[in-house]
């Protein structure tokens, strides 16, 4: 048993002892901390990890509470049935809000959730059926296996059981196929899309997950208090939840619990202290919370948790056990070219970056795309990979038109790529970064991942990623944070990540830039070996020596147009190329 497990066991034992030994006041506080932690946990995933946020989580708590309150008092439904109805209702609302805001990049979700949080508060307060501002009472207590959970001390166990379950599922989720993609959303959106992740959909899923946690918390709240009114579901509370996540540390699941505990205790303390100190009544604790928040964001953006984490023993890095390979893409293709670019054109305002460009690539070739800086090579890459839509023309991969499709659909059709400006998630290990490449080769979704039902597939994904890392010769750095590697090595990790996606066509954007001489030679050896195994490679590169020795064929671009095409030796003799590329001036 590792140190970390012992620490966890002690923590759980202490927690279990609270209702037995603590006075009633502290049990009440602990109950609230549990309820708040659950909501903050959703925000950790949504804000801290996925980089989106919601100020309307309290409204989802309200939906959970009011749905159960209304249905149990009006129709005498079992609270367990109303939980299901509440969750379903929450999902529907969250899906809708997510759909209208998260498909757009930007900050529409937080703004929409402010409006939604306020609107719902007024709805609760003005609907007669929901008791208006006075609220609803007489909500039945929960009973579990014949035991009525009327007593707060008993209810404690239910709250914390569910809170810890939420903690467990969220942790599982973060360490899984969808979780890796979620962790890469902030700062690597284009990258995950290039490996088949529908980022907008994933963000919506995360938002729904956070909303469901909030809804469950609300349901627990309604049956704990057995009374609801609109106040705890207003926008102020929604913002307090966000404070909890940020103060605690939105980068870690434990940050949610720490934040909920800190804010709850501080609020209790400040509500007693401030009126004495200031000599008047009012919500002055909000001033303190607001200032605290500004200071934390200015000076310790990761919250309190990283500071506590230094005292928590770390789990040792586990070796990656070998596992059966993931299913591979059939290598055989038809007779036609693998990639066809036909009269592709891209215009930005008055600038024509790519004009009337056509070329083919056949299976098993290494083709170099060269040309002076600014000739349109990177734009051409972006057109093939879907990062930019075509202005006109066509791109076909394995006979299928892919022009102007989103990158994640193109990835599905067998395109793996690297980026000119390395796009690794610096804080994630090399192995995890490479495993993102294998996203499309797995199928576990959020539910399977959260319940840890994905372990067999996950083992195969990890083994596959480990093989890709070994293939490029970086096994020694497998568990290092990707951001700690030298730039040249990071480029190689990008190739491993692309390999993990089992591509039919590999697009390499300046793979040799920043590499030293010997590293370049090694890279060339690797790429040749891949070609000999049937891989097709298109690369943009500036290093002439590297390109001439490696490629089977070259396409030369200049001013967005194709200047020449042919074998490296012929290209070298081509006077137009020499003029353009080698820059005879003055």
């Amino acid at each position: 048993m590792g140190l970390q497990r012992i620490a966890l066991a002690i923590l759980l034992l202490l927690l279990a002892a609270v209702p037995v030994v603590a006075p009633a006041f502290w049990v009440t506080l602990a109950n609230y901390i549990g309820l708040y932690s659950m909501v903050a946990l959703g925000l950790v995933l949504l804000t801290g990890v996925a980089g989106q946020t919601s100020f309307g989580q309290a409204a989802f708590v309200g939906i959970g509470a009011y749905t159960s309150a209304y249905l149990t008092t009006r129709y005498a439904l079992s609270p367990w049935i109303t939980l299901v109805i509440g969750v379903a209702f929450t999902c529907a609302v969250a899906l809708f809000l997510g759909f209208i805001t998260l498909r757009m990049r930007g900050h529409y979700l937080p703004l929409a959730t402010i409006a939604w949080g306020i609107s719902l508060y007024y709805v609760f307060g003005n609907l007669e059926a929901l008791g208006g501002h006075t609220g609803m009472s007489g909500i039945p207590a929960l009973s579990l296996g014949g035991i009525e959970l009327k007593d707060e001390r008993r209810y404690f166990y239910l709250i914390w059981l569910l809170t810890l379950a939420a903690l467990w599922t969220t942790r599982n989720l973060l360490d899984s196929r969808p979780g890796r993609a979620v962790r890469a959303l902030k700062g690597g959106l284009d990258m995950v899309e290039a490996f088949g992740v529908d980022a907008a959909r994933l963000k919506i899923v995360v938002f729904v997950y956070a909303a469901v946690l909030a809804c469950i918390s609300g349901w627990l709240y309604a049956h704990l208090q057995r009374f609801v009114n609109p106040t705890p579901f207003g926008i102020n509370q929604g913002i307090e939840y966000l404070f909890m996540a940020v103060v605690g540390g939105a980068g870690s699941v434990w940050g949610a619990v720490v934040g909920a505990t800190l804010i709850t205790l501080m609020k209790e303390w400040l509500q007693d202290l401030l009126p004495v100190l200031l000599g008047r009544q009012g919500n002055f604790e909000l001033v303190v919370f607001g200032l605290l928040m500004v200071l934390i964001l200015q000076f310790a953006r990761d919250g309190v948790w990283p500071w506590i984490a230094r005292f928590v023993p770390r789990a040792a890095v586990k070796p990656v056990p070998d596992a059966e390979p993931l299913p591979a893409r059939p290598r055989a293709v038809g007779n036609g070219p693998l990639l066809e670019v036909k009269q592709a054109r891209k215009q930005f305002g008055g600038l024509v970056a790519v004009d009337n460009l056509s070329f083919d690539i056949h299976a098993g070739e290494i083709v170099g795309l060269i040309g002076p800086n600014g000739a349109g090579k990177s734009t051409t890459f972006a057109l093939i990979s879907g990062a930019l839509p075509l202005t006109s023309g066509e791109v076909r991969l394995r006979g299928e038109s892919i022009g102007s499709r989103p990158p994640y659909e193109i990835a599905r059709r067998g395109l793996g790529r690297t980026f000119q400006h390395v796009k690794l998630i610096g804080a994630m290990s090399v192995l995890d970064n490479v495993a993102i490449g294998a996203y499309l080769r797995g199928s576990s979704g959020v539910v399977r991942a959260a319940l840890k039902l994905d372990r067999a597939e996950e083992a195969r994904v990890r083994a596959e990623a480990a093989r890709a890392v070994a293939r490029v010769g970086l096994s020694g750095h497998m568990h290092d944070a990707a951001g700690s590697l030298a730039l040249g090595q990071q480029r190689i990790v990008e190739i491993a990540r692309a390999l993990a996606s089992d591509p039919a066509l590999l697009l390499l954007d300046e793979p040799a830039a920043g590499l030293r001489y010997l590293e370049k030679q090694e890279l060339a050896r690797l790429l040749r070996a891949l070609r000999d195994e049937g891989m097709t490679i298109l690369l943009v590169e500036h290093d002439m020596d590297f390109v001439m020795g490696l490629t089977d064929r070259l396409v030369v671009m200049d001013f967005g147009e194709k200047l020449a095409e042919g074998k490296p030796a012929d290209i070298q003799r081509n006077p137009a190329v020499r003029e353009a590329y080698l820059g005879g001036v003055a």
């Binding site: 305002g349 008055g350 600038l351 024509v352 002076p372 800086n373 600014g374 000739a375 349109g376 610096g426 951001g483 700690s484 590697l485 030298a486 730039l487 040249g488 990071q490 300046e510 830039a513 920043g514 590499l515 030293r516 500036h542 290093d543 002439m544 020596d545 001439m548 001013f559 030796a569 070298q572 020499r578 003029e579 353009a580 590329y581 080698l582 820059g583 005879g584 001036v585 003055a586």
Partner: protein, 243 residues
Amino acid sequence: MSGPLLVVSNLCVSYGKVEAVHDVSLAVEEGSIVTVIGPNGAGKSTLLGAIMGTLPARGGVRYGGRDISRMTVEQRVAAGLVLVPERRELFGSMKVAENIELGAFARLRQGDRAALRVRDEVYARFPRLAERAEQEAGTLSGGERQMLALGRALMARPRLLMLDEPSLGLAPLIVREIFSIVVALKATGVSILLVEQNARAALEVSDYGYVLETGDCVLHGPSRDLAANPRVAATYLGQAATP
């Protein structure tokens, strides 16, 4: 004043844990053109960013005899240190004339009422810009954009003009034009620090050159000597590619 206009000593720039420029030293004499050449990813643009102050760096940067390493970008601009970046960074949805006018912002804000008079010189040098003064900058072609970026920079009346890949994506005819302007600017007393991929052209117009490779300065010397250096010829002038 004695000593070079710009002296960079032991400059290091890191992105996170990755060092992009390592211990680079260089000097630009008043009234000269100095070029920094090297392959993509060698850290050339990073070097210029660090001198300009847009990137945090360690090491010394002295300009006009003063330590400027703690100055803000705006203070450096006001002191006549001006950068034309690789991405041009024009104000796309604003008029060409407005772009030009804003080039003189630092001067105008210092109360230099004559600052806008430079506009006539700029339009004389780039008649195309005068023709398109009322057009939005985003509608210009690649060559016109580079001219506008240069024109905007000249409005600040630079003492040291730093050009990052001015030939990027331009047709040979325009590249020639740009380089002749660079030479003409030198004649008016402006010192120039030129970062270029187009090593041959850069070495032809410059007085002194530095070769940057993976963040290190591996070679430097008078441009004529560098152009004749077999190693430079092999790697950057593309002659190794010729059988």
